[in-house]
């Protein structure tokens, strides 16, 4: 599955965490838009890539989800 993305493994996770830390709780769509914006439109992030990445972060306990919006966990924000 990792082979389908053009983004380095782990880079996407960092971008997501960075976004969530600066913006607070966000919807998945919001995260995607924000990442595209901050990269000045150089990156087109389709949801098929973002969605499993978000799930991975959630499984690892880095973020928590509440229905469709996500926010960073305490442990993660204090270490990052």
């Amino acid at each position: 599955m990792g082979g389908k993305t053009n983004i380095w493994q782990g880079t996407l996770a960092l971008m997501v965490l960075e976004t969530l830390e600066s913006m607070g709780s966000l919807h998945g769509y919001g995260i995607a838009r924000r990442i595209e914006q901050t990269r000045g439109g150089l990156l087109s992030l389709n949801y098929g890539i973002l969605c499993p990445a978000l799930l991975k972060l959630e499984q690892e306990g880095a973020i928590v989800s509440d229905r469709a919006s996500r926010k960073i966990t305490d442990a993660q924000s204090s270490t990052s």
Binding site: N46, Y47, G48, C51, P52, L55, Q59, R67
Partner: protein, 894 residues
Amino acid sequence: MRRLRALWIRICGTLGNKRESMELDEELESHLQMHIEDNVRSGMSEAEARRQALTHLGGLEQTREAYRERQRLPGLETLCQDVRFGLRMLLKSRGFTVVAVLTLGLGIGANTALFSVLNAVLLNPLPYPHAEELVTVHAAKQNFNEGSISYLNFRDWQRDNKALAALAVSRGTGYILTGTGASEEVRGELVSSDFFPLLGVKPVAGRLFASHEDEIGQEPVAMISSGFWKRKFGAQPDVIGNPLMLDGRDYTIVGVLPATFNLAISNFRASDVYVPIGQFQNPALNDRSAGLGIHGIARLRPGVTLKQAQADMERVSRNLETTFPAEDQGIHAKLVPFKESLVRDVRPLLLVLMGAVGFVLLIACVNVANLLLARANARAQEFAVRSALGASRARLLRQLLTESLTLSVLGGVLGLALAALGTRIIVKMLPENLPRETGIHIDWLVLCFTALISLASGILFGFAPALKMFKRDVQSTLRLGGRSIGSANNRTQDSLVVFQMALALVLLIGAGLMIRSMVKLSNIDPGFHSRGVLTFGLEAPPAMSGAGPDAIRAYLREAQRKIAMTPDIEAVCFSWAALPMMSDDEQSFWLEGEPKPGNQNAMRSSIRYLVGADYLRVMGIPLLKGRFLSEADDDRAPRVIVIDEVFAKKFFGNVDPIGKRIHLDQFDDAATVIGVVGHVNQWGIDNDAVNPLRAETYQALMQLPEQQLSLVAFGMDALARSKSGAIPSFKGIESSVTQMNHEQVVYNPEAMDDVVSETLSSRRFAMTLLAVFACTALVLAIIGMYGVISYIVGQRARDIGIRMALGANRGEVLRWVLRRGSRLALTGAACGFLAALVLSQVIAGSSLLYGVRPYDPWTFTGVTALMMAVALSACHVPARRATRIAPMKALRTE
């Protein structure tokens, strides 16, 4: 940690519910809506906005797929699916499953059980810190490779060596305990102070012996075992400092050893009480030439190798040889690693058995592989369809292997249950010389072993059918439409059966050789009649300790008379020194006319029995010439000696030995030979013939010098023969003895029959297990043979039908099937025969055989014939079935 957490959630996701997919759908939907709204806001038409959003999303189904793969573990999911499918298939054909699981269970169970023995005995590390540095120490001398060390030599070795961190000695003994409840015999060990510190043993109460406490003339102190502490003192901590009366002397208890301390090495056995070696009440303790049954243990200095240590001890021994030529000539220290001295006797036996049991598992695997092959033919259709629908070879192989692994895991579980049972049976059967039997149980290493062999066998028997499956052409299989492929050759199956037969024959020959050895051994005459003879220990009351020689002789006569009056006792005799197959002792001597040798080691030696007049009657040893010792041969009569036939032949040749005189070491007057008796197998039935020390002498107990006679009362052996031929009742003897004096004790009763059979116990153990394994192997191989022949008959039913329709008679069909079977059996037997020729050399190398050559023609031909007969009768059943095929029916079903 985070990875683990994610993995755990994914495993849960795989096994858990499907609720999440609803949430995903909702989220995707809202995501899409937001995107469309954004697009509309930026000026697109509704339709364009939707189209753009959908493109950007990158495919709904792919997203779902990616999400699902992340949510769960795809590999695990397929595995679960395959296992579930496999289990369903196994449930569908119950007969096959039961046979396969039972076969595997037997094979794996036998392996696990034996491995748990092997693990406890050979592999487990000894429970001592740096156990690899521990060695046992002996004195190598003329007749004893690992003889006992004299106390004075021990002190010199201890002082002069540079390679050992510590050297300690021990010697087993027995005491009468009085003043603490009823008087009883307790097992004791005399040890030097370094014994426990060297092993790293710490006391649970009190202290160990202090460094000079073990010297001669120190205050009597004692340590006790935890068991003894509990039994006698209720584990009271204030027992330290209390007196303990042993053999009428007061010892102060200074410490208690931990309950975990349970060492049994060379002559040392864990005991009730431990006393410093300097307390040994034997005047010969200060005699440099007297070994007295003392053996040592030592710890090498860190970094010193065994070879270096041995060389250093050699230097010390050589120095002593020059300083004390009379006593120490030819005496050398010998070091043997702990592990080696524990396992060297049983290692070959266990390895041979492990090999045998491995063969059994192989045969079991081959059997299951054969069953699977037959099934694979039946399932060819199923797999052809799957592969036509796009399943890759890897996927199919994976499923087949999952199925066979499921089988093997089931077999492994059953095997573990059987092993738990089998281990218990094996522990009961274990010969006494197998060390550390208490440690035999199923631990994690055994579990790993079971898991490993289960999986390995699963892969082993799973691969053959899987590979065969792929050789098939999908199209032609589909076209055949599920009918069996009669033309497919059975070469794989045939060679598997041949392989099985060969393995089984090897095992059968091995077992046959062992059984022949055992038969040979049981026909050997030990030289005495053990039936109806009981041996036991007797200790005089502590009051006798200071008595003079006349009082002791009077006591011995009285005790013998009292015991002889016990009902059903025909004869009683006391013995000191050696007893056949139980204890040994030697007598140094020189013949009359020879100059007196300069030292003890230059003298001739023989086994020494010190007995009473009734010894021949009790033991049933034949008198060949002259007379035996009599009651009249006592301290007032001239010194006499009786020799055995081996002695007579070795030292007197054809000359009549009666009247010849022998000078015995440590006696001033020469002894006159008065009689010749039959030879007794001192060293056990199987080892006597090869022992260098075989000449035997008998001396009268009553003619012992005063110094030694005083020791006799502290523990001698007694032998009693019953009138009826039954084992004499120990209870009866005990009551006769206590009637005479309640402070004297009898202990350790042992039927002579048991003693004799004990010397063969490890052979019997190996033989029984090998025979059981060989029979299992034979049964499995025969089942395999039967299965394959039945399968062939089933496949060739139409063929046979046509032949019969064309006029073949039943006899011809029968012969055809039998020829097929016997060809397999013969090929297998030929391979097995050759393999057995090679492998029986291994058994021969392990000294498990006795009186049988490793290529014993009788065993080889007999066993091969037996196996052929059994194999052919196994073929006969399907062959008969073939003759009953009705031609019309066979033709119609096709």
